[in-house]
Symmetry: C2
Subunit: 133 residues, 2 copies
DNA sequence: CGGGATCCCGATAGATACTG
DNA sequence: CAGTATCTATCGGGATCCCG
């Protein structure tokens, strides 16, 4: 048991690198917006506030669990606010904060790039797939 | 068997929505850059071309499998080129294409946003976690 | 040196059912 | 209406071995 195996050393390196990545703001942000539902929620809320069930319907395909989970994490990061109105049927509204709106703008930039270059990517993909080798 | 269950209908909706998402350039791009290693590889290659093993060392923590897989998919999308030099020990260089460089610029924008707003996010997170409830 | 093929495991998405 | 709890199936990703 004495000697450290190569596997253990690599494991150590991996953990350190993971820590490095987690402390990197860029990767944190990438992790955040890469989440399957985050971009959809942000996009859905960009026009204005919306209720929980309306979001569920607009995003169609999301399970209550994932919707709640996504909304919670976005709320935690200060990207949206959660407002509970204790009426007879409870009413909960979600709305982007200025920070959330700012993120929405960034997503727009991503969207623009995507739409501008998607054809090149698709072409490259076809060429690659068509290669004889 | 005649009647379609609610579960089946939801399943259908999910599949359609999935298809919708997959056809959306923005989500394709998000899927791409959200990949754990893609941003790191692009970032590593931004200064210039690099060899396979150099990449592996610079990114430290990536397994050969993931590195190869990442490089292949990026090559397929026309974001980088792969050059094989059949010398005695084989030599393979990777280099960003103009399209890849363009993506690198987008990642820079993401990076800028991240560094500009990370403090707000962290503060919001602390506040949220500190809440009594 | 630069990979491909295979096996395996932990994380997590999502379906379902229940609650205030 | 707006969630929560639980269970399961899937799958990304790492380890390992092997090849050209």
């Amino acid at each position: 048991m004495a000697t450290t195996t190569a596997a253990q050393q690599r494991e150590k390196a991996r953990i350190e690198y993971d820590a490095f990545i987690k402390n990197c703001p860029t990767n944190q942000l990438l992790d955040r917006i890469s989440d399957k539902w985050v971009s959809l929620v942000v996009c859905a809320l960009t026009p204005g506030s919306m209720r929980y069930s309306d979001l569920g319907r607009k995003i169609a395909g999301v399970s209550p669990k994932m919707l709640t989970q996504t909304l919670r994490s976005l709320e935690r990061d200060g990207l949206l606010t959660r407002t509970v109105t204790p009426s007879v049927p409870v009413r909960v509204d979600y709305e982007l904060t200025p920070l959330g709106t700012s993120l929405s703008c960034l997503l727009s930039a991503v969207k623009d790039w995507a739409e501008l270059h998607i054809e090149q990517v698709n072409k490259a993909r076809d060429d690659y797939d068509a290669e004889p080798s």
